[in-house]
């Protein structure tokens, strides 16, 4: 489970996040939408314990991200918008290394194959150096590392930025499957309204650090979601 309670972060006079309350249950995908500067990445940083909140709390699977950031991070897998990894190492080497750092144990070779199958990374790509991978392939490697680690939760930061529509759709489908089949709690910080509608269970709209709207994705069609987003962000009716 991913949880924030009254999470607040200020930088001097700037209020980056104002009293955020959200919960992402196991098997749930929560899309956190918002324009640049809304506080999405700040939320991710606070959940990872990379920043200390001014007030409130953030936790992963019950572990406070501020009091025990390493324990909290051990229960989550973070996939940044640009999965850089080590370009001169293969996909297999990268995932094995990340898994070993996260869990302390060398991952089983058969388990790695299973994980690569699940994220849809082609067999012939697994022993190629990731320096030559496309962004979509690197995203899959990032997800593979998350699965290989056995994370209970997933934090995705702008996962579809830079992906073509086909790759974005495939990624959204993968995220949905991970939540349904693996029972992961997934928080996805994104601009991508349409993929949010496809992949998510709930959608929150952050504007200037506040959760301005929160809806169940099933209750809205994609175009209605877009309308809601624009009205919430720009505070004016679009029709």
């Amino acid at each position: 489970m991913i949880e924030t309670r009254g999470l607040r972060k200020t930088y001097g006079d700037l209020v980056a996040l104002e009293g955020l309350d959200l919960t992402v249950a196991p098997g749930e995908v929560y899309a956190l939408l918002g324009p640049n500067g809304a506080g999405k990445t700040t939320t991710v940083q606070l959940l990872l314990g990379f920043e200390r909140p001014t007030a409130g709390s953030a936790s992963i699977d019950g572990f406070d991200a501020t009091a025990d950031p390493i324990a909290a991070r051990r229960r989550v897998a973070y996939v940044p918008d640009q999965v850089r990894l080590y370009p001169r190492f293969t996909a297999r080497e990268n995932v094995a290394y990340l898994t070993r750092l996260a869990t302390g144990a060398r991952p089983d070779a058969a388990h790695l194959e299973e994980v690569f199958d699940r994220v849809g990374l082609a067999t012939d790509a697994r022993d190629r150096r990731v320096g030559a991978f496309s962004k979509g392939m690197r995203q899959r490697v990032g997800i593979a590392a998350a699965l290989a680690k056995g994370a209970a939760a997933l934090l995705l930061d702008e996962p579809t930025t830079g992906l073509d529509p086909k790759a974005s759709n495939e990624f959204a489908a993968l995220v949905r499957e991970l939540a349904d089949a693996q029972g992961l709690a997934i928080l996805m910080a994104t601009h991508d309204v349409f993929r949010s509608a496809d992949a998510s269970d709930r959608i929150g709209v952050l504007v200037a650090g506040r959760l301005a709207a929160e809806v169940d994705a099933a209750d809205l069609a994609a175009d209605a979601l877009e309308q809601l987003y624009l009205e919430t962000v720009y505070e004016r009716p679009t029709r």
Partner: protein, 470 residues
Amino acid sequence: MIGVVARHELARLIRDRRFRVLAALFVVLLLAATSSAWIDASERAEQREAASHAVHETWLDQGDKNPHSATHFGTWAFLPLSQLSFLDPGATAFGGVATFVESHRRGVRTRASGASDPLRSPSGLAQVLLPLLVVLVGFDVLAGDRDRGVLAHLFGMGADPRAVALGTTLGFTGAVLLALVPAALCAAVLLVLPPGADTLRSLGFGAAQLGHLVVWCLLTAAISGLASSARGALVTGLGVWALTCLLVPRLAADHAARAVELPSPRALAASIEAELLELGSAHDPASPTYARLEAEALREHGVASVDELPFNFAGWVLQRGEEREAEVHARAYADLEARHERQERAADRGGWLSPRIPLARLSAAFAGTDRRHLADWDARVEDYRARLVRTLNDVLTYDERAKEPGFTVGREVWDEVGRPTYEPRSAGWALEGVRTSALQLLVHLVLGALLVVAAVRRIAGRPASTLDRG
């Protein structure tokens, strides 16, 4: 976990083309300098041995003559260079290697032709070029990963930031050391295999080089961790290199030269000459000094004339005069040596800022080419000179035939003098003279480690400094 990260970092660097190119470049330079220095040193050793043999033959073949004439004929003593001297020529690059030995005058080492440039020696490369290569290879070991977001990804996956930072530092240090294995093996073969190899000195020399290299690895990794970006780390690293490898040693030497003035060779010779003039000559029967010595001899032996003395007064007075002159020289050179030492200590203060300074001292000390070793050799040559003069003056003093006009001796007497020898000092003796430098290098190691700790704390506290606030 630190070990896992270290092995990964080692593998990463080995796969990095930039690292391989720079490491290969340095190894080639080092091997070229080492083999060139070894060949040059071997040739010089052969030349010295041949010259030493030749001058000794010349001494033996000088023909029959008065013994005191032979003390003026003189001979040469050649500085025996240690096994490690080819790695670090030290003070021999500036001082001479040959001393003319004769009576009435303390010899000064004269410069041999083709003295090597210390900065082109293997040790010179290690002092100046190697730190630069370490900075160029390692400036982005931590900063680069942070800039690219790799650190944030690792930490977001649950990796311990401290283990990542320490392991990266260790892996980087290991990679640099690994790159030098070929050169180290080459040096080890050249130093350990030949007969009479001084293993302790070689170990001391190697330990100093290794310590200095580790200082630079720690410093580079720390700068990489503390800098705000990879570019900042590179600029800072290059700045620290220029300051500690180039500027501080230069300033320290200049400061020492101003703080402790050394007399010029001409001024020194003039002051000795003035004192000798005041002392008076024991050669000249008309001089007051001669008269005083004569009175002293007559009084000691209770006789009225020199003919009644149980020895040849002509020989005895020459020897007494020689001893008094030697005292004048000894005082002058002791003062000069003390000034040299004070000047060296003044320059050594820069060693608290620059690790190059203590490395240079330790390297030359273990190579047997520092000022202290040369002063020790000079003292042995002076002992040999005293023995040569005494041996020949004793013939004049105690040989019954010496009172006869036209007294000469030949080869059998010249052979008694022998040749100048030098028993190499131990590694412990070498280290005694550079204890402060050893401490300075140790302090730099500790400081480097503390800076790494500071960098680890910074990374652990701000692992994702490149994340934008969105």
